[in-house]
Amino acid sequence: MSEDPNLLVATKVRKEFGGLLASDDIDFTIPRGSIVALIGPNGAGKTTFFNQLTGVYKPTSGSIVFDGTEVVNMPPHAITALGIGRTFQNIRLFSQMSALENVLVGMHCRLRSGILGAILRPGRVKREEAESRDRARELLVYCGLPRRHNERSSSLPYGDQRRLEVARALATDPKLLLLDEPTAGMNPQESADFTAFVRRVRDEKGLAVLLIEHDMKVVMGVSERITVLEYGAKIAEGVPEEIQSDERVIEAYLGKGAVA
């Protein structure tokens, strides 16, 4: 099988919530190893589209092919196992668990020990646990969390919680990393650091990144392609320079008078 240059191909994805059209026949592709962004005003259907890629919602119609596999009817955990890792817009860590345990949960689908293994704890399982702990620590350090691995995740500062979410998503060993407003609530310096970090992750781990973002500095700085949604429909797509000068985009963000 020759490798498709596109990691993800979504065709005519449509999602209706009753009378509301949240995704209006969206066509969307993510090339391998690229960083692409999904932007649009609030309520444009960005997160809804995200949730369809990850299996949280099932599209009303359309197809989403990830790495050669149709994922539309798959449950979220199976899609994660295929290689889509994600973070959440409003941080959703396992708040009672330590930072380390959060990352270990992310490794769930890459580990194999079962019930008897858990109870009898043979050498194989011990080794797997020890290795996964080491790997989890490495990931935490990699994502900028060198300390406080055993602290309850909800007691970490906000920025660290965001980093932990990324570490947890990376623990699923993804080919595609979905980041839902990762820099929300960060100051300009933190956002800049984060932008550099996203690029580094892409380069070093060889994965593709799709991000939803409101901070235009981040979006324009990091993404190679940008797709703009408004009212569930795709209104523009292209490289950052094209998007910046696209009349429909400016109109969508700033209102009609702004174009002139």
């Binding site: 955990h77 994660t80 396992f94 708040s95 949960v105 769930h108 858990a118 007691s155």
Partner: protein
């Protein structure tokens, strides 16, 4: 360095004190031998439970520890756990009594070879009861675990009523007597050591041995230790982490690759497993499975144990289970007789569920995480949320590196 600390902590489980667990185990083993001495003590002597009472207490504590896997670890409110107790007890009834008089089958049993009915040794019965209950857990779980929160609780409540109802009226399934209806199945064979008895010391049959209670107690104690051991190991495993992740945030857990249905079903099945074993063992101890034992109040009683001890905390649930079971099966009546002796006409056993209700209300008000809170809850309640102050106190007025947008 921190890795070693981690490992030590993992080995200790909830306990910071290395000596506590062996000490409790030793006391547990010694109790039946010092029981009489304790009961002769002034003042507190009357409150010491008999070894027989302890067997019952342990059986219910085992069920509570099993229920804790479902409610405490996975966060699934199960209001019908009594169903698993019933399945376990009736499995013992079917495989180790004279109930099926159509056949005569003996396999390593401790009773007379001439008896009709199926008589399998209780050791096998315990395992089969566990597995069969596990199966019941899966059958109940698969259709219901898709539901969330309150809805799940209501459906389990339904199943908790269905199974005892079936048991009560199961004396004629198309003419076949499955459960012997309201009379229940009795007598159920006692536990014994049919093979080991050849070398002496070990009795072939607990019932006819000199120390019936003591033997039943020893095996019950071992079963409880086994349940706790499995429960600790499961909690600290990949599966246990997945359970807790589901409890914390189901959507996030699924997005991290945790298969929700399978993981929840396992928590249900494993929780049921221990309930089944406890049910079968208790049925053998009281030598019968009676439908009157399987009412809704048992489910609530077990849930109270879990809440009292601390949801998710194994040691907490064990202690909570022992305390409530003690009050239920001996403590309240002892207290009652003391009150009567003092000349006051008040019988606390009449108000047992009212008293448990008061205990739960007080617990929720003053110690919501339970007697021995789960490590995670404890951290939260004792340390509070870590926070960097806005202003550095030492260099007054200077802003710390905390970002206001973070709040």
């Amino acid at each position: 360095m921190s890795d070693t600390v981690d490992r030590v902590r993992a080995r200790l489980g909830d306990n910071a004190n290395v000596w506590l667990v062996p000490a409790v185990i030793l006391l547990g083993i010694l109790y039946p031998f010092v029981e009489e001495g304790l009961q002769n003590l002034p003042l507190i002597g009357d409150f010491m439970p008999t070894t027989g009472t302890l067997v019952v207490m342990i059986a219910f504590t085992m069920m509570a520890v099993g229920l804790n896997i479902v409610v405490g670890y996975c966060g699934l409110l199960d209001l019908g756990y009594v169903a698993f107790y019933a399945v376990g007890a009736y499995t013992a009834g079917w495989l180790a009594s004279q109930h099926f008089e159509q056949v005569t089958f003996h396999f390593g049993s401790s009773v007379d070879n001439g008896l009709v009915g199926i008589h399998v040794t209780m050791w096998v019965v315990l395992i089969v009861a566990g597995l069969l209950t596990m199966l019941a857990g899966i059958v109940i779980g698969l259709p219901t675990l898709r539901l969330r929160g309150d809805y799940l609780a209501i459906v389990t409540l339904g199943f908790g009523e269905i199974i005892p109802q079936v048991v009560r009226n199961g004396d004629s399934f198309g003419g076949f007597n499955l459960t012997n209806g309201t009379f229940g199945i009795a007598p159920i064979d006692p536990v014994g050591f049919p093979v080991l008895s050849a070398i002496g010391f070990f009795p072939e049959n607990f019932q006819t041995s000199d120390n019936r209670e003591r033997w039943y107690y020893m095996i019950a104690f071992l079963l409880l230790l086994f349940t706790i051991f499995c429960s600790v190991r499961l909690r600290d495993s990949r599966l246990g982490r997945a359970w807790i992740a589901i409890r914390e945030d189901e959507t996030a857990a699924a997005a991290m690759g945790v298969p929700l249905m399978r993981t929840k079903t396992w928590s249900y099945a494993l929780g049921a497993f221990f309930g089944g074993i406890a049910g079968a063992y208790y049925a053998s101890f009281k030598s019968g499975a009676f439908p009157a034992d399987f009412y809704f109040n048992v489910s609530v009683f077990l849930l109270c144990m879990v809440i009292l001890g601390g949801m998710g905390s194994i040691w907490g649930v064990t202690v909570g289970g022992m305390i409530l079971a003690y009050l239920n099966f001996s403590g309240l009546s002892t207290i009652g007789s003391k009150i009567q002796d003092a000349g006051i006409d008040f019988d606390p056993t009449k108000y047992q569920f009212g008293i448990y209700g008061i205990i739960i209300v007080l617990m929720m008000l003053f110690r919501p995480a339970g007697l021995i809170p789960e490590r995670r809850h404890k951290i939260e309640l004792e340390e509070g949320v870590h926070d960097t102050p806005f202003y550095d106190v030492q260099t007054e007025g200077a802003l710390t590196d905390r970002n206001p947008a973070d709040d």
